[in-house]
C-alpha cells in the first residue's frame, strides 16, 4: 500500500461539488425548456413556471461557484510548452497507453482545455442568460438581441454539458481519480502514472 498524497484541500472539494450540484440542477431545468422531450424535467422543480423562475438562480450560483474554483486553479491551468508536446501524443492517451505520453504536471493538456472551455461557456451562459431573464432584465433588450441570446445560450449550454460528460468519464475511466475529489487524496503510484511532474513536485525533499 503506497503513500497517499494530498491533491485537493477540503475547500476545493466542497467548491467542486457545489458547482457539480448546481450544474446538474441548472442543466436539468434548462434542458426542460430546450427540448419538449425533456420538459418532464420541469416536474422536478415544481412545474414549468417554477422551473422558469429557478433556472436563472441555479445558473447564477453555478457561475459564482465556478468563480471560486477558478481563482484557486487558474494558475495550474495555464497552457505550457510541455502541453503542446503532450497534445501531439493524445492518440496514445485514448488507447490507454500512458507510457507513451510525456510526463505532465498537476493537470494534463486535456484537463486544462476542459477547464478553459467550461469557464468560457459559463461566461457566455451568464451574459446571454441575463439578456432574457424575465421579468427583470429582458425588458432592457431588443427582441433581435434576445433572439441571438437564446441561441448562444443553448449552444454554450450544450458545449458545457458535453465537456462535463467528458470530465466525468475521464474521472471514471482513470482509476483512482475520483478519490481525489471524494477524499482529497490520491495514491502515490496514481500520481506517478498520471502526473509524474506533479508527483516529483509534491514529494521533493522527502
Amino acid at each position: 500500500m503506497s503513500r497517499l498524497l494530498q491533491r485537493y484541500k477540503d475547500g476545493d472539494r466542497m467548491n467542486h461539488w457545489f458547482i457539480a450540484l448546481m450544474f446538474v440542477l441548472a442543466a436539468l431545468s434548462g434542458l426542460a425548456f430546450f427540448h419538449p422531450s425533456m420538459f418532464f424535467f420541469a416536474n422536478l422543480f415544481g412545474g414549468g413556471s417554477w422551473t422558469r423562475i429557478l433556472h436563472p438562480f441555479l445558473g447564477l450560483l453555478m457561475v459564482l461557484g465556478f468563480l471560486g474554483l477558478f481563482f484557486r486553479l487558474w494558475r495550474d491551468n495555464l497552457i505550457t510548452a510541455g502541453d503542446r508536446e503532450w497534445a501531439r501524443h493524445m492518440g496514445k492517451m485514448l488507447s490507454g497507453d500512458k507510457a507513451g505520453l510525456p510526463p505532465v504536471g498537476k493537470y494534463n493538456y486535456a484537463q486544462k482545455l476542459t477547464f478553459w472551455v467550461m469557464a468560457l461557456s459559463l461566461v457566455v451562459l451568464l451574459a446571454t442568460g441575463v439578456m432574457f431573464w424575465r421579468p427583470w432584465f429582458a425588458p432592457y433588450f431588443s427582441v433581435e438581441a434576445m433572439r441571438a441570446a437564446v441561441l448562444l445560450h443553448s449552444v454554450a449550454a450544450v458545449v458545457l454539458i458535453l465537456s462535463t460528460i467528458m470530465h466525468v468519464y475521464a474521472a471514471i475511466w482513470v482509476k483512482g481519480t475520483i478519490r481525489a475529489m471524494t477524499r482529497g487524496t490520491v495514491t502515490e503510484s496514481w500520481a506517478k502514472t498520471n502526473h509524474a511532474l506533479w508527483h516529483q513536485e509534491v514529494t521533493k525533499g522527502r
Binding site: 425548456f33 427540448h35 413556471s49 427582441v143 437564446v150 475511466w173 483512482g176 503510484s189 502514472t193
Partner: protein, 290 residues
C-alpha cells in the same frame, strides 16, 4: 382562453407527436382590416376591452393620438397612427389596427417551450392557453410582428384571441361587430382574400396604384389581413415587408434541438464503448505491489 375542444387543436406548442388532424371540414377563418375605411375611432379597442373584460391603466398623452401607445397585456388591439408622405407634399394619415396576425405558421408557437401553452385551432386561430403558460417570453422572440405581451402581474403572455370564444359559437370577433364603418370584416379565409383583392382593386381605381392585400407568405399567410393603400411599402405603417420566423429562432428551435440531443447522447454512448474496448487506466505500481 381555451374555448374550443381539444379536437380543434391542430398545432400545439412543445409537442413532438401529431395533434388531432381529423377536423378537416372546418373552414379557415380570417379577419380583414380595410385601412381605407378606417377612421381610427377606436371603437374596436373599446369593444375588445369590454368583451374580454380588460381595463388597461389610464395613461398619459405622449404627443400622439395613439392610446394606449402600444399593445399591452390588457390592450390586445390598439390603433396606430402614421403621418406619412408617400409622395412628397401628399400627406396621408394612415391608421392601422394593430394586434395579433394569427399566422398560419406561428412563430410564437414554434418558440414556446411549454407543451400546450400555445395552440392553433383548425379554423386558423392562434390562441394562448394561460394555464400552460410559464412566462418564459419565448413567444415574444418567436413573433415576427412583435405582438405578445407578458404581464408584470402574473407573468403570463397575452394577445388577441380573435375572440376564439365568440367564433367557436358562430359569432364574429367583438371588434368586427363594433366597427361603425365596416372597415373590419370577418369570414372564411377564402372569402376574405377575394373580398380584400376586390377592395384593393377599387382602391386602385380611386388612385392608390399600389393598393393591395397584406397576407404575407413568409408566415404561410395570416388569419388577420389588411387592405393597404400602399401595399408596396408596408413599412410606412411598421409592418414588416416580408415577415418570417427569424432564422435564429428557426435554428434554435429547429436544427439545434436534434443536433444537441444527438451530441449529448452520442458523447455518453461513445464513453461507454470506449471504456468497454480500452478498459480502465490502472497504474502499474499498484499492480506490482500487489
Amino acid at each position: 382562453m381555451a374555448s374550443l375542444q381539444s379536437l380543434d387543436v391542430v398545432a400545439r406548442s412543445a409537442t413532438t407527436l401529431p395533434t388531432p388532424q381529423v377536423r378537416q371540414a372546418i373552414p379557415q377563418v380570417a379577419k380583414l382590416i380595410d385601412e381605407s375605411k378606417c377612421i381610427g375611432c377606436k371603437a374596436c379597442q373599446v369593444a375588445c376591452m369590454n368583451w374580454n373584460d380588460l381595463r388597461d391603466e389610464v395613461g398619459e398623452t405622449v404627443g400622439v393620438y395613439d392610446n394606449p401607445v402600444d399593445l399591452t397585456p390588457s390592450s390586445w388591439t390598439v390603433m396606430k397612427f402614421y403621418e406619412v408622405e408617400p409622395k412628397a407634399g401628399s400627406l396621408e394619415w394612415l391608421i392601422r389596427k394593430d394586434g395579433c396576425m394569427h399566422c398560419e405558421d406561428p412563430g410564437c408557437l414554434k418558440a414556446c417551450p411549454s407543451p400546450g401553452a400555445i395552440v392553433k385551432y383548425a379554423n386558423g386561430i392562434v390562441d394562448f392557453i394561460s394555464e400552460n403558460c410559464v412566462g418564459c417570453g419565448y413567444c415574444v422572440k418567436g413573433c415576427p410582428f412583435d405582438v405578445p405581451r407578458i404581464s408584470q402581474k402574473d407573468n403570463k403572455a397575452y394577445k388577441c384571441t380573435l375572440c376564439s370564444d365568440r367564433v367557436s359559437v358562430g359569432l364574429e370577433p367583438a371588434c368586427v361587430k363594433t366597427c361603425p364603418t365596416g372597415a373590419i370584416s370577418f369570414g372564411t379565409k377564402d372569402d376574405m382574400v377575394s373580398y380584400g383583392e376586390k377592395r384593393a382593386g377599387e382602391l386602385k381605381e380611386r388612385g392608390f396604384q399600389n393598393a393591395g392585400l397584406y397576407n404575407p407568405e413568409g408566415v404561410g399567410g395570416t388569419h388577420v389581413m389588411y387592405v393597404l393603400k400602399h401595399a408596396d411599402k408596408p413599412q410606412l405603417e411598421e409592418l414588416p415587408a416580408n415577415p418570417r420566423i427569424d432564422p435564429m429562432v428557426s435554428l434554435w428551435k429547429g436544427l439545434a434541438k436534434p443536433l444537441a440531443v444527438a451530441g449529448m447522447i452520442g458523447a455518453m454512448v461513445a464513453g461507454f464503448f470506449h471504456y468497454m474496448k480500452v478498459g480502465p487506466v490502472e497504474d502499474k505500481a499498484e499492480k506490482e505491489e500487489a
